[in-house]
Symmetry: C5
């Protein structure tokens, strides 16, 4: 789907301008044109992008999926790649998916390409629709709005992950299952993926805030600095969450290991308590003590009561001995 | 709560100046105004901050929670974010909470915003109250006093953590419980959080000590250098404490593993000692040796005494064998 | 095997020019000569390379196997080492092998040396063969084509590894074997080897895209920048795959550990259930209760039915007790 | 204790000059004054240090314990913090303690403060006492002597640690105890502490060797470079020792794990050998084979000898089977 | 042992020049003097080195063992420390030992000091002996030859380690012993030591190839660049080998863990199979079923055959149950 917006001060916004008019419109330095390609096949994008006069290598990059945020300065325009991270929760699992947003930023136009709908783009588009003043500060300010909306979109994800960690921490101390561990691993992977998306985007914003580009008004750099700070903060939150997941993994392992130890202790306790008793019963089960044999006196009543006493007292003695060795 | 202090050399300190007078007061370059917002709603902060002429992005940052210490130079004023770390001990656990302090530093005024009471702010405020000379060295010196008090506030926390580690180390060798491990993990997390708060604050102080800002007197840089050194030292202490916690974790695991090994050894020893004896008693319990049968001679007295001797001597032999294999 | 191509605008391509003509041909600045040595013995390479006037140290490097991508600027020519990674799958295992490609790039010639056939070289050669226009942009553009084809050749490998990880992840949760672990280790090693090959190649492309070399047209630098971006992307994919392998290893260990725990629990459960019962049967097997003895009353029917009841009820009680301790 | 030395070429050394004379003495640029405060209370240090005209912040730092080596350039004098590491061995354990040495270096004086006796200081003091020529090269050379003696004092510690590791390595393969592990952890902590003391000191020496200070003769920088090299070497030795301790820890764990495995194998072997035999004896102990019963023929002599044979042959068969599975 | 070579173009090489002539010879700028001290006591080295006019600190460094490769520029001469690594294999173990080579490089002389024979020195010496042309390119070229021979000497070591890893990998899957682990640890330590020797040497060569020294002809820098590349390659090989050792360690642990799991499974299987059977035999061994008692009907033939059937069928059922839980 190709959508376009054309704004010229004092005039109403034109929508869905025919692509053939683009080259003519961008020659008027006072206007502002935004063209958005949403999941559009390569064949229809290519001629339009060529009409803007972009370098073939930049067009190639825009039409392929690259997934690494970057910024190329082509003099008259910038080619920028940003990413948006979707978090899909299938059942109890989390999976991150990075969606690429390609942006061409010229002095009086902005061209955006993406394959799946990106909330940040939709919000900016409808804001422009509702209020043309969003467009009056020029193309670089529009880029700021888009980037700001995209970065703002990470916050709910961070909060969802935070909640998930809290829930898993409770689960660990309550009744840990192998399933808990699976989900911790999934969260860890998710946060790693998020970090790899955030870091290069931070670099792109840093460049926009520091370097001197022909199509960025130096007075607008402060806005990209602001997004940069947001990304620094997100990166910081990501680090904290990774620490939390790491701590939860440690706790899980210690809880499971603990249960294992308790089970081993029980096994040993049972064996220690019953093996001597079983030997004792075996002893008096031998055929030496047959009623007709000569050792008949070994199986008389006093011996039996002594044996019975041993059977009852021995476990207590062993229990005390194990207690002193701090096993139970 | 909004509080304010106005100092003009030779005159008594004015307190709680009406906010409407702020713009007028800061026009007099000889005075010094300190405005403090303590847990004040956004609606009442906003017009006052706008009255100072701060940039909308800086005001935005100040009114939102950011939690990452930073320093933005806006020419006529600096926007600084510092953090203070509370340590809350709920039961035996420790939890760190970072409190944000936003500061606007102008040539002759300082504006501070925070949501919870920060001891460093309170101390500086009452010091100014008691002794107006604290205010006579200008706004940048007042910033130094505030930062110095905040940084000094970390020391008791560090000492509390140090004591907690000592106590846990004793516990580990005395009678380690899963609870000990939990608390070690909590301390580890606390120190990680502390480190993430200290590092960017150190950077802020480094900038104040090195860079050339319009609102900082170059002769006062040496004071920020001093706070920087304190933060370096705190970071160093933090590293040492993290090493100690890491060592305590290692010790815990080795102690627990050791007990486990001892338990397994006992299980094996008991099994090794009693299994052959149990077999022996079973052997002579077979019905081959019935008094009426033909193998009656197997259950005569000499055999019995031999068996008895075996039962007593065998464990000693096995004990010696196990000892030689250095099991017990 | 020595192959050569000579292109002079307006004339048909000459193939397999005799080596003795090389020095003469490269004196004509308008032509373009490509000489390719494929698994050629040192003795036949040496005189030809000396005929180009290369420095002895550069020739030494080209004739030895070095395996570390690098770029040396010798003024009139560049000496470049690139690598290509083969992945050989013997049975279910993967093994990486790096193949070295040495390149001398002059203003109007390119000399390539390698020991095994490299697909990227073959593709570029046949493209030049089919369409002489590939050659008309000069030697540096030809270098770009070769490097582009080599880098493109990594993509199928990356996809194969991706599939292998997916398959192993399924295997882990289905029926993990030690074999699964072996293959995960092999994949990990493969990705480590790939990373060590990609990183220095990225640096070579970065130098070609940034530095000022006499034999590279500054307008062509943008093409090497493009390959650099591809290598950045490959490195990024490699990082992701390494995270996935790391996660799969963690999952494997947790699955195996889990099974182990289940087995230990069963061992303990069986021991706990049967040891007391075995003791009980042993108790009544003692010769105190011989029919002719005085304790005959202990083996009457009521006691037997009580014992039988104990034998049936006891396991249920223990089962409930173990359940309450969340063992089973 | 306050000690002082005053050297003026051609005159005998004056000792224990009254503190009130210090300001007068340092006005004579030809002399050299060394004042040493050894565990002196703050009240008596403060006025003397103020008499030298040091900045209040520097005096504050000198009178507090900081423990992080650093160098502050105050123009007319340098404020330097060095550390000395004591290793205290209580029983078999090692504990590191860092002692702080504060130094003020002026053009013709040096002031040193410390709380515990530092061998490096004592040696330099007595060298000055014995041979006034030590003092004739100026204050910066005296600083070099002190620093050199302090750094030389680390070597015996390094050697003691080296010996301790050797001894522990023997112990690990001979008869490892949990105590061995404790001592390895203690050594690890000690080396970590040492590293944290060495690194910033190296930086201080690097600054003295490279930067341009008013009170350091550029020709003397080479001496600080020499100490820097010594510290590089100590850091290198520290790294090697940490590798050795890491290797010893790995060995310990593998040795202990190995013993554990051997014990588990024995447990399993015993269980595997005796369980079937015990079952067999139980089988013929059942009351089905009572002499008066109908199955009397099962307990005749031939069956007994067969059973006896089974009891003797079975363990051999199982032993061979376990051997083939490479368990024992 | 002190050896010396003196070369003056057009004249035969003079050998073992008396040390007293050295100062005179090096005044003639056209000659080239090489003095080599091999395990010579300090007393005899000192006066000769002082005769060359070296700085006392440099002489101190040369006569002490330092073991950290470095390069000091003293203007008229360079002081260089290189290392050579011996690998000693005592039995199946490997141990690395670093041998230090101190070099003074002047415009027309080179002085080398070492304690054990270094193959690289011996080879260069005999090459000079055989062919005086080795000496005609000046002292810096001679340094290149020595360094080249030393670096070339690492290659056989690397190959020996590679073979050892291959052999250990086979051993791991065949029949791993604790001894295998010991050797893997030894290899790991060896590679760590090698890495610590290679890295600073690489830095020394980098400095020789890049920096501007009075005694190095700028045209000869390319040769040191070549050695630098060799060291880069060795470092790369070292990294690969460390990956391999790391992988082998992982494999060892997984193989051993696997065997342990198999043993535990067998223990559990045996216990699960025989415990119920032993209980059953115990049940019918109780004296309730005495031939003279009232429960005589429980030990009749049909019950016996039923018991016998249970004894034979039960293990099969349990086997199937364990199989379904994927234990065996």
């Amino acid at each position: 789907m190709i959508r376009s917006l054309y704004y010229l001060q004092g005039k109403p916004i034109r929508k869905d301008v025919p692509p053939l008019e683009f080259p003519k419109l961008i020659r008027d330095k006072r206007g502002l044109l935004w063209v958005n390609f949403d999941n559009e096949p390569v064949e229809s994008c290519l001629p339009i992008l060529q009409g803007f006069g972009f370098h073939p290598l930049a067009i190639d990059d825009a039409l392929q999926e690259i997934h690494v945020p970057k910024l190329d300065d082509w003099g008259n325009y910038l080619y920028i790649v940003l990413n948006f991270m979707y978090v899909r929760s299938s059942g109890n699992f989390w999976e991150a998916e990075a969606e690429e947003l390609d942006i061409f930023l010229g002095p009086n136009y902005i061209v955006t390409l993406h394959d799946s709908p990106i909330p940040g783009i939709e919000e900016t588009w409808s804001a422009c629709d509702r209020d043309p003043r969003t467009l009056q500060d020029g193309a670089d300010h529009l880029l700021y709005k888009i980037a700001d909306n995209i970065v703002a979109g990470y916050m709910p994800t961070v909060e969802k992950i935070d909640d998930a960690i809290d829930q898993l921490e409770d689960e660990i101390f309550d009744r840990p299952t192998p399933h808990t561990l699976e989900r911790l691993f999934a969260l860890k992977r998710l946060l790693q993926a998020m970090r790899r998306i955030l870091l290069p985007q931070r670099e792109v914003m840093n460049k926009l805030a520091r370097d001197d580009f022909r199509v960025i008004d130096p007075r607008d750099r402060i806005f990209f600095r602001d997004i940069y700070d947001h990304l620094v903060r997100l990166h910081d939150l990501n680090e904290s969450l990774r620490d939390l997941v790491g701590g939860a993994l440690d706790s899980y392992l210690s809880v499971v290991n603990n249960r294992m130890n308790e089970i081993m202790k029980t096994l040993t306790t049972i064996t220690v308590l019953f093996m001597p008793l079983t030997f004792l019963t075996g002893f008096f089960g031998m055929n030496f003590f047959e009623p007709l044999g000569s050792l008949k006196s070994w199986t008389t009543n006093p011996v039996f009561y002594l044996t019975l006493a041993t059977i009852f007292i021995m476990p207590f003695g062993m229990y005390l001995w194990m207690r002193r060795r701090t096993w139970i």
